[in-house]
């Protein structure tokens, strides 16, 4: 098998990897904000629930979570869902990353000086306006470096999807490796992840620069 054929086969897997990446981001970023709100609530049940959720998500392997999410509907409820494999991957990744993002949001929100809230209050802003116009933009600037870290990890974590036989790129690379007894496809996969992350880091750096207009 020549390199071009390998690349072609890997190409299909790359597409799935990119899909998992973007869908997870789109879902986990807002979900994380929601969980961080729950985590910061004074109500001890809401706060405790959020704490437990974050604890479990961070405290158990993502690989295990993938398996649980994939098999739970069948073993717990006897449900067979069509084309569930891909959905399960997105679900597991989003639920897991939301927990990490929640803690990042919380660190950003709790680091905001109380004076910003007080200034907004005496100017008559309501709670939603205060958060959306005054607090969140500053929080985003503060947490961007930690978010970048997390996103880069996500790019590499997409390879874990192979445990439930999603044919993303890493799975494809391993299949070719096994069939052709060459580690070349795995090396190519490595280069792909590297380039992907290079682009991600570039985009995040651009965003940081854009938000650098104030201190």
């Amino acid at each position: 098998m020549d390199i071009l054929t390998m690349l072609k086969q890997l190409g299909g897997g790359m597409l799935v990897t990119v899909e998992i990446f973007f869908l997870t981001l789109i879902l986990s970023l807002p979900l994380g904000l929601f969980i961080s709100f729950a985590r910061m609530k004074k109500n001890c049940f809401v706060q405790g629930g959020a704490k437990l959720y974050i604890g479990v998500m961070r405290g158990t392997p993502l690989m295990l979570q993938l398996i649980v999410v994939y098999f739970a509907p069948y073993y717990l409820f006897g449900m067979r869902i069509n084309h569930y494999r891909f959905l399960a991957v997105i679900l597991a990744f989003s639920l897991n990353y939301a927990a990490y993002f929640a803690e990042i949001y919380r660190s950003g929100i709790e680091s905001m000086p109380i004076g910003q809230y007080e200034a907004a209050k005496v100017l008559g802003y309501n709670k939603v306006q205060t958060f959306v116009r005054i607090i969140l933009p500053q929080v985003i600037k503060r947490i961007l470096p930690s978010v970048t870290n997390e996103i880069i990890t996500l790019v590499k974590d997409t390879s874990l999807a192979f445990v439930i036989s999603i044919t993303e790129m890493f799975t494809t690379a391993k299949q070719i490796e096994a069939a052709q007894t060459t580690i070349l496809p795995l090396m190519m996969a490595g280069v792909f992840y590297f380039i992907f992350n290079f682009i991600v880091a570039g985009v995040m750096e651009y965003l940081e620069k854009k938000l650098g207009y104030y201190k």
């Binding site: 004076g115 100017l123 116009r133």
Partner: protein, 254 residues
């Protein structure tokens, strides 16, 4: 009519520290009142209670005859509903010791964002008003600058412009010059003085004795959570009260 009325206000912080012990205070339209006193005497807390940044434990808070907080049968304060409070918040502006400008907004946006979002003024109108205010406070050339690019004095003037843009009936100043270099306090004091000339109603917590003497209609001396003396600058500065003489003397010599 009294713009602001505070009756028998009591306030303790968690842990039981009683910072305000039964204070009553009335402010009429056009009046400039300064509150002086040693650190920890409860001056700032009283101001923050008036601006609803702190909840009072007991007593009455009244704006323009409208009861904002009152005592229940156990002498615990009850506040009006949050939506009614939002209306009351429009009566006053608050200037903080540390400015608390919004760092991600430029100067003009800091001034006009609340009028646009809260008072729902059309953008053009808010801008016109904002620019006029910046001009009045000598900040026209800074309208596109961001807060971090300004000196402390300029930042404090922006925060005064921001408060004025909401057309408040009364302005609260919480040690407006305490965070500034001595050379920058003058420019902020000048602004407050010109507001006093226009008969803006103000309550100013300050450590600057000469400034308080110059601009106030009335000076309140607070210590240990109580009003110890109250009167015109002449009365307070000419007092026979040893404690007040000592306090004023010490600060003036600094």
């Amino acid at each position: 009519m009294n713009l602001l009325e505070m009756n028998h206000i009591k306030k303790s912080f968690e842990g039981g520290l009683e910072v305000i012990k039964d204070i009553s205070l009335c402010v009429k339209e056009g009046e400039v009142v300064s509150i002086i006193g040693p650190s920890g005497s409860g001056k700032s807390t009283l101001l923050r209670c008036a601006a609803m940044l702190e909840k009072i434990d007991s007593g009455e808070l009244i704006y323009l005859g409208q009861k904002v907080a009152w005592n229940d049968s156990h002498f615990k304060s009850v506040y009006m509903s949050s939506s009614d409070k939002k209306k009351i918040e429009k009566y006053y502006g608050f200037v903080f010791q540390n400015f608390h400008l919004f760092p991600h907004f430029n100067v003009l946006k800091n001034v006009i964002d609340a009028p646009e979002r809260v008072l729902k003024l059309p953008k053009k109108e808010a801008e016109k008003k904002g620019l006029a205010l910046l001009e009045q406070l000598g900040l026209s050339d800074k309208k596109d600058a961001y807060p971090y690019q300004l000196s402390g004095g300029q930042q404090q003037r922006v925060s005064i412009a921001r408060a004025l843009a909401m057309d408040p009936k009364i302005l609260f100043f919480d040690e407006p010059t305490s965070a500034l270099d001595p050379e920058l306090t003058g420019e902020v004091q000048k602004v407050i003085q010109s507001l006093a000339k226009e008969r803006m109603t103000m309550i100013i917590v300050t450590h600057e004795m000469q400034f308080a003497r110059k601009i106030s209609d009335r000076i309140i001396f607070m210590e240990r959570g109580k009003i110890q003396a109250e009167g015109t600058p002449e009365v307070i500065f000419g007092t026979g009260n040893e404690r007040i003489r000592e306090f004023i003397g010490r600060l003036q010599n600094e």
